[in-house]
Each structure stands twice: as structure tokens, then as C-alpha cells.
């Protein structure tokens, strides 16, 4: 064995000038070559900045009636027009971004946490733990997601945290399945067996050894989850299950819903905001997918 190792070492010395990139740098470089993904990232960045800082600069109250109802875009200085109560649509979209993004991110975070826990535990321990956790996962796969969230929100009140909870609790099954598959693959690898035999505790094995290596596909899925949660929130709001005290993109559409035929613009613009946001998130997800799986790229 030692004799075998010797020539390899000398070979490596000859190539010492080749610089090895940090994996993160490599990922970033791969990501940067994907123009669509970069464009998505830039767009999302703009959307986040506008949602966070916009209300400070564009101070029109989204709940205040400022002008005649259904004023078309551009009239009287209201760039996107006014809604059915004569409220400034642009102000609503700028202010609504916060709630939409907040619900999207917290719901995605919740489902990522549940999904990773379920997937990691069942993939690591196998046996009856896996059996029980996977049956629960299947249960949530069978439950009609939107109907169940509607029931939760309707029964326990349409507040922003409740909506985020209702979305997060139904959308984690894909994360669980992906995490479990990764764990099943990685737990048999040599470095895991090595740290196991050198006495690593199960907790350390799960969170320090296996999870970091299982992360790439989970990150991609989590990114997509944010988009999914935003769509989901919009759907709930459209059905009237939104927090009446908070403006969100879905709520704008829900509010103006009866007037789509006469005044379509009140629904077109907030819908476009959601469309562009989710589109950039999924472009980023695609880019991450390629950047984190260099093998996939070569195909």
C-alpha cells in the first residue's frame, strides 16, 4: 500500500502549481456562467430591495383612498392606477411585497426544517423510525394541500403567521424524500463509516458529517419552495383567506376579483409581480442545480 502511494505523491507535487478552487468559489463561477440564473438573481435582488426599502420612499398608504376607483394606469400621477376603492395600486404592490416575501420565506423555512428532520432521521436510522416517518410523509402526500391549508386558515384565523404555518405544514414532503434519498446514499460512504468507527455520536454524524454533504439538492428544493409558497399564499388570498390588515400581492387580486372583466389591470399587475418573482426564483433554482451538480452540466 505504501509503495503504491509513493508515486502518487510525487505526481501531485509536479502539479502543485494547479490551484484548487474552494468549492464555493467553483459553484459561484459555474452559477455565473448561467446567464438566465444571474438575470433571475438580479431581478430577485431588485424585488427584495424594492419591497424592503420601497415603502420608505413611496409613502402613499396602500389602504388610503386617494382617487376615484378604477382609474386607469397613468392618470393623475398614479402610475398603475387605482383599485376598486380608489387606492393606489402601485403603493399596494410596493407595500404588499413585504408580506408576500415574508410568508414565502417563513413557510419555506418551516417546510425545509420539517422535511430535513424527517428525511434525515428516516434515512439515518432506517428500521421502524423510517417506517413511521415515511408513512407520515405519505399521509401528507395524500392530503389535498390547498384544501387542508384552507381549512386550517378558515378554522384558526387568517393571520400572517397562521397562513405561513398552513403553507409550510403541507409542502415539506418533497424535501423529506430528497433528504432521505441523499442520506441513504451517503451513510454508506467510506468517510461516514470512518467517522462512525472513530466514535462519532449519531447527532454529529447526522448534522456534521452527512447533512453538509447532502445539502446541494436540498438547497435547490428549498429555493423552489419559496416560489411555491408565494404561489400558495396568492391562491389562499385570492380565495379570500388573507389577513385583512396586511396588504399582499395575492390580497390585491382577491380584492379586485369581482371586476376582472371591466378593469383587468387591477389583477394583471399584482399577478405579474408574482409571476416575475417566482420566475426568477425558479431560474435561480435551475442555476443552482447546475452549479451544484457539475456532472449534470456535462451531459
Amino acid at each position: 500500500m505504501i509503495e503504491d502511494a509513493q508515486p502518487q505523491r510525487s505526481l501531485r507535487r509536479e502539479n502543485a502549481t494547479v490551484q484548487v478552487e474552494h468549492p464555493l468559489v467553483e459553484t459561484a463561477r459555474m452559477f455565473a456562467t448561467n446567464y438566465a440564473a444571474v438575470a433571475g438573481l438580479a431581478t430577485l435582488f431588485v424585488i427584495i430591495v424594492v419591497s424592503l426599502a420601497g415603502p420608505l420612499f413611496y409613502q402613499t398608504d396602500p389602504f388610503e383612498m386617494v382617487w376615484a376607483p378604477f382609474s386607469p394606469p397613468g392618470v393623475k400621477g398614479f402610475l398603475l392606477g387605482t383599485d376598486y376603492l380608489g387606492r393606489d395600486l402601485l403603493a399596494q404592490i410596493i407595500h404588499g411585497g413585504r408580506a408576500t416575501l415574508a410568508v414565502g420565506c417563513s413557510a419555506a423555512l418551516l417546510s425545509a426544517v420539517i422535511g430535513i428532520t424527517f428525511g434525515a432521521l428516516s434515512g439515518f436510522y432506517r428500521g421502524w423510525v423510517e417506517e413511521v416517518l415515511m408513512r407520515i410523509t405519505e399521509f401528507f402526500q395524500v392530503l389535498p394541500t390547498l384544501l387542508f391549508s384552507m381549512v386550517l386558515v378558515a378554522l384558526f384565523g387568517a393571520s400572517l403567521p397562521m397562513i405561513a404555518f398552513a403553507i409550510g405544514i403541507v409542502s415539506w414532503t418533497a424535501v423529506a424524500r430528497i433528504t432521505r434519498a441523499e442520506f441513504l446514499k451517503i451513510r454508506e460512504l467510506e468517510y461516514v463509516i470512518a467517522s462512525r468507527s472513530s466514535g462519532a455520536k449519531n447527532f454529529n454524524l447526522i448534522f456534521r458529517v452527512i447533512l453538509p454533504n447532502a445539502l446541494p439538492p436540498i438547497i435547490v428544493q428549498a429555493a423552489l419552495l419559496v416560489g411555491f409558497a408565494i404561489l400558495f399564499e396568492a391562491g389562499l388570498s385570492f380565495l379570500g383567506l388573507s389577513d385583512p390588515n396586511v396588504m399582499s400581492w395575492g390580497a390585491i387580486m382577491g380584492n379586485n376579483r369581482p371586476y376582472i372583466l371591466m378593469h383587468g389591470f387591477t389583477i394583471v399587475y399584482p399577478g405579474l409581480a408574482i409571476f416575475i418573482t417566482v420566475l426568477s426564483i425558479s431560474l435561480i433554482g435551475d442555476g443552482l442545480n447546475d452549479a451544484l451538480n457539475p456532472k449534470l452540466r456535462k451531459r
Binding site: P144, I267, S282
Partner: protein
């Protein structure tokens, strides 16, 4: 000389032994049993939700009546068995469901089962036609794209899958209404039939189909992207395999190679996914029905939620879970039948 399909069938049947058939039945039975357990779990969840929810039947009736005495309320609670111990109530609820009794809706003054069964055909019509349209078009797009991976169709499929994922389905529906019912009024804006004219027979069917077009396009837009992407990926895999090269070398026409040899195997992932996304389709149907005022389960669910009609909401939740379980079971069986390779293994699940 038997026809070609008969030959193929005989060849296919030959492949199975009695043991395989028994195994197939056994697995199906096992899966059905597990589906039943899932449904019971949904019922338990329903029951828990019903009791966690603020307000009960007595409150609802009191609200309708504009306030009642505490005595009358207690009497109502006694009449509906709400003073019994919880496990007793749960047993009563379960045995009711076993007799197809999902409770009574005080809002509609009808048994929930009747309400649901009335609305099921409309929803099934919408969901099934959306599935058929999206699978058919998706597979077509996928096949065309796979044959020229860098062609225009391929890019179109990529675009489509991005757009299909990112647009909220109800928004797509509204855009369709604005475009094809308002600006270019060639389709009705909603409902399932035109109530202004009495129609019968063929004219009635045509009227329903006319109303079905836009909702079906809207609902299939979510999954069209998914199917075309899947079909493209698996078709590209299959087109690179040896048996396809053999078929080409034999001098078969392009059409025969693609549609008779390759497509069969390329369809497998589409079939599996079609079953898996069924709960997503039910969710999408709720939104699409709401946009097009399609008189189905989704519309009923939304009305029930606005009216705080808990028995109806939970009944719909249970019934849609039943549909999803049944769809999963059927997909699983179909998958086992069209792919004999997995006749015994259970590796395909989860």
C-alpha cells in the same frame, strides 16, 4: 392469423406466471389496505380539527337564530351528542362515515354526502380532461423536443416549463378570461352550462364542452410543463439506448421507431408522476373552479368556508383524500401492468 394487437397481448400475457398474478394481487391488496389506513388517519385529523375549531353546532344554530338561551344550547348539544365522551363521539363519527354519512350541513340543510355527490361529476370532468390534455400535449412536446435537443421546440419546452411553474394558476385563468371571453369573446366567461337556453342531448354536451375549454387549459397549464419536461428527459434517455438503435438499423421508419418502440418506455415516468401529482391537481381545481365559477367540489368548499360550514368542509377534505388515494392506487396498478420489470419488487414506492 390474429391481429397485431392480439399477438402483442399474447406475448405480454405469456410473460406472467400464476405466481406473478398472485403477487400483483397481493401487492395491490396491501397498498389498498395502506390507503385505507391513510383515510382513517384523515378522519382522525378531521375529528380533531372539528373539535379544535372555535364554535360548534349549537353556536352556529344560535348565530342563525340571533342568540339562544344557555338551556336551549345545552339541549341542542345533547341532541347532537356533543355531551358524550370524546372517544364515543369519534366512534359515532367513524361509524357514520362507514355508512357514507359525512354529517349534516346546517348551511345548506342537506346531508353532506348528498351535497358532495352532486358536485363530484363536474370536478371529475374538469380534472380528468385537464389530465388528458396535459399528458397528451406534454408527451407530444417532449417527444418533439427530444428528437432535436437544441431545436426551437426544445427551447420552447424549457420556456413553457418555467412559465407554467411561475404563473399562479388562477391568474392564468383570469388572463384567459380577459383574452378569450372579453377581448375576443369566443368562449363563455364561466359556469358549466348556458342557463339562458334549454338544451338537450347533443346540444347540451356541446355546450358543456364549450364551457370546459378555458378551465381545462388553465388547469392543464400547471402540469403541461412538468409532463413535457419529464417526457423530454426520458425520451432522450430511451432514444440513446441499444434497442432503439437496433430498430433504426432494421430500417424502420422514424415514426415507427419513435412512436412504437421508444415512446412506450419513455412514458413510464410520466405515468408515475401523473399519479403523484393528483393531490396537486385537486388543489389547482379548487382555484380554477373558483375563477370560472365551475359548479364543482372546489366551489362548494369555498362557499362552505365562507359560511363556516365545518361538516361540509371536512367532508370535502375527506372525499378529496379518498380520490387521491384511489388515483394513487390505480396509478400503481397501471405502472405494474405496463412495466413487467417491477412485477415483484416493491422498489418503486417512495
Amino acid at each position: 392469423m390474429p391481429a397485431a394487437w392480439q399477438q402483442a397481448f399474447l406475448l405480454y400475457v405469456q410473460y406472467f406466471t400464476v405466481k406473478d398474478v398472485m403477487q400483483f394481487l397481493l401487492i395491490t391488496l396491501k397498498r389498498a389496505g395502506f390507503g385505507l389506513v391513510l383515510l382513517i388517519a384523515v378522519l382522525v385529523l378531521n375529528f380533531v380539527l372539528m373539535h379544535l375549531a372555535p364554535g360548534d353546532v349549537a353556536d352556529t344554530i344560535a348565530q342563525d337564530a340571533g342568540g339562544l338561551d344557555a338551556e336551549v344550547m345545552a339541549q341542542i348539544r345533547k341532541d347532537y351528542g356533543l355531551d358524550l365522551p370524546l372517544w364515543h363521539q369519534m366512534m359515532k363519527y367513524f361509524s357514520g362515515v362507514a355508512r357514507l354519512d359525512l354529517g349534516y350541513s346546517f348551511y345548506y340543510n342537506q346531508p353532506v354526502t348528498t351535497l358532495i355527490l352532486e358536485k363530484v361529476p363536474a370536478t371529475l370532468l374538469l380534472v380528468i380532461s385537464a389530465q388528458i390534455v396535459s399528458i397528451f400535449l406534454g408527451v407530444m412536446f417532449g417527444v418533439i423536443a427530444a428528437r432535436k435537443p437544441n431545436g426551437i421546440t426544445s427551447h420552447f419546452v424549457t420556456m413553457l416549463s418555467l412559465v407554467g411553474y411561475a404563473a399562479p394558476v388562477f391568474w392564468t385563468g383570469i388572463m384567459l378570461i380577459i383574452l378569450f371571453a372579453s377581448i375576443v369573446p369566443i368562449f363563455p366567461i364561466g359556469n358549466m352550462v348556458d342557463v339562458s337556453i334549454e338544451r338537450e342531448g347533443f346540444a347540451y354536451i356541446m355546450d358543456v364542452l364549450h364551457h370546459l375549454v378555458l378551465p381545462t387549459i388553465a388547469l392543464s397549464s400547471i402540469f403541461l410543463a412538468l409532463y413535457s419536461r419529464l417526457a423530454r428527459a426520458s425520451m432522450m434517455d430511451v432514444l440513446g439506448s441499444d434497442y432503439v438503435r437496433t430498430a433504426q438499423a432494421k430500417g424502420l421508419s422514424e415514426f415507427q421507431v419513435v412512436f412504437k418502440h421508444a415512446l412506450r418506455n419513455a412514458l413510464l415516468p410520466v405515468v408515475t408522476t401523473a399519479g403523484l401529482v393528483f393531490s396537486g391537481i385537486v388543489s389547482g381545481a379548487v382555484l380554477v373552479e373558483s375563477v370560472f365559477s365551475w359548479p364543482g367540489l372546489g366551489t362548494l368548499a369555498i362557499q362552505a368556508i365562507i359560511a363556516r360550514d365545518t361538516p361540509t368542509i371536512l367532508g370535502i377534505l375527506f372525499f378529496s383524500s379518498l380520490v387521491v388515494v384511489a388515483a394513487n392506487l390505480v396509478t400503481d396498478m397501471v405502472y405494474r401492468i405496463i412495466d413487467p420489470r417491477i412485477k415483484t419488487s416493491e422498489g418503486s414506492q417512495v
